[in-house]
């Protein structure tokens, strides 16, 4: 009797959830019901563009790892495996949309026109980000897990106050994207973001990249029900999409962004994907996961998959060669620009604590710069 009650209303017992997929791991194009329409507009050129984007950001990523190994970066957070999720979302955006990323959104950054070198400032320790969010409608990276989802929701509330939602004008209606990981879903801030988004009907799209891991913790540590469901009790409907399938990602992102921009309220996308690399270059995944699982996911690789599809469409070999060459050139440029970054000026420490003059900061800056200057004639020098 007791357990009947429990089971009657226990959502755990639901079967494997539906996952939107349009390109199988083998590169075969399949239908996915109501979302097909949003992929229909993609022509071969678009698909080749996606392919190029994915290859280039994967190369950016590899260069990040390499630069870290060579001591040029303090840290790097690889996106390996998540290229489709990020490019699919990034390419579904309109210019006026605004994205609040985590620290791993190199693919979305790419689509927003943030040069990969710009991302390196943070990872090299030159600064904590430093680009102008308004220039790219792409905020600086956020390290404190989940915080940015509230910023995204607030931004979207502002969009709502501005009336830039549901006007029907494609150049005006604006969606805000809150990026976060599977681990982040446990943070109170993310739930509060869902709360505010629901309560204010904010035009925000919650974009959860479930890469199966939060450092060493598998998703099962965070939740026992699928994450696309997380918003349901807040009035934020969710959908799970194959995050390694760029066509499905694009279609679901397009559909959701359109709905959000039209004023139908917040939505949530769970991109089901896998973190193929380490959490960061400081991490050693062999400590906590077996190679077999990672290999199984390698068979679902987003780039291989799209390449197979492009090949089946008759894309000439030269195209792939050209993309690789472009990737090489990009990597060389990034390396060059990274290595040649100037040492930051110590005055930088004091420059942006406040926007307006602050007596204490000014006093400390003057004292410290004087102190540094006092070494100038000495042999020691400040270290």
């Amino acid at each position: 009797m007791t357990s009947n009650i429990a089971q009657a209303s226990d959502s755990r017992t639901s079967s494997e959830p539906r996952m939107i997929q349009m390109l199988t791991p083998d590169g075969e194009r399949i239908s996915s019901g109501e979302y097909d329409a949003f992929a229909a507009e993609l022509d071969d050129e678009d698909l080749r563009g996606f392919y190029k984007d994915m290859v280039l950001v994967r190369r950016v990523d590899a260069e990040g790892n390499a630069l870290q190994r060579q001591g040029q970066l303090g840290l790097w957070a690889p996106l390996l495996g998540q290229e489709a999720a990020q490019i699919g979302m990034g390419r579904a955006l309109r210019p006026q949309d605004f994205v609040f990323p985590t620290y791993r959104e190199h693919g979305v950054a790419w689509c927003r026109g943030v040069a990969p070198e710009t991302l390196l400032g943070l990872f090299r320790g030159q600064n904590h980000g430093g680009w102008d969010p308004q220039e790219h409608n792409f905020h600086t990276y956020t390290i404190v897990i989940g915080s940015q989802t509230l910023h995204a929701t607030g931004y979207a509330m502002g969009v709502g106050l501005d009336g830039e939602v549901g006007t029907g004008d494609p150049a005006r209606d604006t969606a805000t994207v809150a990026c976060f990981g599977d681990g982040a879903t446990s943070q109170g801030d993310v739930s509060e973001a869902l709360t505010f988004a629901g309560a204010f009907n904010a035009p925000v799209l919650f974009f959860c990249q479930n890469n199966q891991w939060a450092i060493s913790e598998p998703t099962s540590v965070q939740t026992r029900v699928p994450l696309f469901m997380r918003g349901q009790g807040f009035g934020v409907p969710g959908v799970r999409v194959d995050g390694n399938d760029i066509i499905a990602m694009y279609a679901v992102a397009r559909a959701s962004l359109d709905s959000v921009r039209a004023g139908h309220g917040p939505m949530l996308i769970e991109a089901f994907t896998y973190r193929m690399g380490a959490h960061t270059t400081a991490d050693d995944p062999t400590k906590y996961r077996d190679a077999a699982t990672t290999e199984a996911w390698a068979a679902k690789d987003p780039i291989t998959r799209l390449r197979a599809h492009l090949e089946s469409l008759g894309t000439p070999e030269e195209f792939f060669v050209e993309v690789d060459a472009e990737a090489d050139a990009l990597a060389a440029r990034i390396r060059e620009n990274c290595i040649s970054m100037a040492e930051p000026d110590p005055a930088e420490i004091f420059a942006y604590a406040y926007r307006e003059p602050h007596s204490l900061v000014e006093e400390e800056r003057a004292e410290y710069l004087d102190y540094l200057a006092s070494f100038e004639d000495s042999t020691e020098g400040a270290r």
């Binding site: 904590h128 109170g188 509060e192 942006y352």
Partner: protein
């Protein structure tokens, strides 16, 4: 010159700021129809609408976090925290996001967010309704912190807070909400980050702020009766602190007492004592003495008169500093 209660001077300042700039929006719990539990936003939703005076879900981190997002979108949110200790759920958003985004974006982003915090004790409230958490925010760079003690200052300083491109925490001395005083709506004060010598004196400098200013004024009068001339300074700005004004006074009087409701241990008095001693070492006739709250949880209201610095305790501090 209208005479207003301190709370209503804030209301008037908010109203003025909202009239001047339609990007100013208010957000908080119960600030709409109710006008806030202290009625500081009373009438504003009626006049400016639900889009500019926003009743928020009951979640302080959410309120601060979404305000950050609204600021990034170009708004100037003014947050009401219902009572001092209810700010702690928002601590992370305040110190790791609000305080740091200007720096994180290397100056590209400004965060003109104001957080209004009714603070301090003395109104007979239960736990969490009487705290003075200013010091734990002042320790973090990136926030400006001010606290008015008169209706005039309240009216102007809230507007200055809203005008600031930096985030400002605006600490409101809640037990003085009913304190009435003249508000000169034509002439502002010396700016939000300047301390003010309220009474000149020669024997001892007394530094106070916010809710203890009326008490400190009583101390000045009582000390005068005893033949002691106290120079009283209203700090007004808690970050940055106007050390120049204090230093000038202490170089004259040679003695300093600092009082606040917050615990003495690591309260603002500690920093003032340390820095003024450094700046005026050879002028001090006595160590800087501090009169404040204890290193205990704020007690039940039946005991709060023991916890709060009052005329006698501050006078005792003045006497002790003179005894050196």
């Amino acid at each position: 010159m209208p005479t207003l209660a301190l709370s209503k001077a804030i209301t008037a300042g908010l109203r003025k700021a909202m009239e001047d700039d339609d990007k100013v929006v208010l957000i908080g719990e119960d600030i709409g129809k109710l006008g806030g539990v202290f009625r500081v936003t009373e009438g504003l939703q009626k006049d400016f609408g639900q889009r500019r005076v926003i009743d928020a879900p009951l979640a302080e981190s959410g309120i601060v976090g979404t305000s950050i997002g609204m600021a990034i979108r170009g708004y100037r949110p003014v947050i009401e925290i219902q009572f001092d200790a209810f700010i702690y759920p928002a601590y992370d958003q305040i110190v790791t996001q609000l305080a740091k985004l200007h720096n994180r974006t290397r100056g590209h982003e400004s965060l003109p967010v104001v957080i209004r915090v009714p603070y301090g004790g003395g109104i007979g409230s239960p736990e969490h309704h009487s705290e003075s958490p200013e010091a734990v925010f002042a320790h973090h760079a990136g926030l400006r912190i001010i606290s008015p003690s008169t209706p005039h200052d309240a009216y102007w300083m809230i507007q200055e807070a809203i005008d600031s491109p930096d985030p400002v925490m605006f600490f409101e001395p809640k037990r003085r909400y009913w304190l009435r005083g003249e508000v000169d709506t034509d002439n502002r004060g010396p700016g939000p980050h300047t301390a003010q010598v309220v009474t000149e004196g020669t024997d001892v400098t007394l530094v106070a702020y916010g809710p203890l200013m009326p008490t400190a004024a009583d101390v000045v009068a009582a000390a005068a009766d005893e033949g002691t001339s106290v120079e009283l300074i209203d700090l007004r700005s808690l970050n940055p602190i106007d050390f120049d004004t204090i230093e000038a006074s202490v170089k004259k009087t040679g003695r300093l007492v600092v009082t606040h409701e917050a615990p003495v241990f690591l309260g603002l008095g500690a920093e003032i004592a340390a820095r003024i001693t450094e700046r005026s070492f050879y002028h001090l006739e006595a160590p800087v003495l501090r009169v404040g709250g204890f290193h205990t949880p704020y007690p039940g209201s039946k005991l709060e008169h023991h916890y709060l610095p009052d005329l006698d305790r501050i006078l005792d501090g003045v006497d002790r500093v003179l005894a050196y």
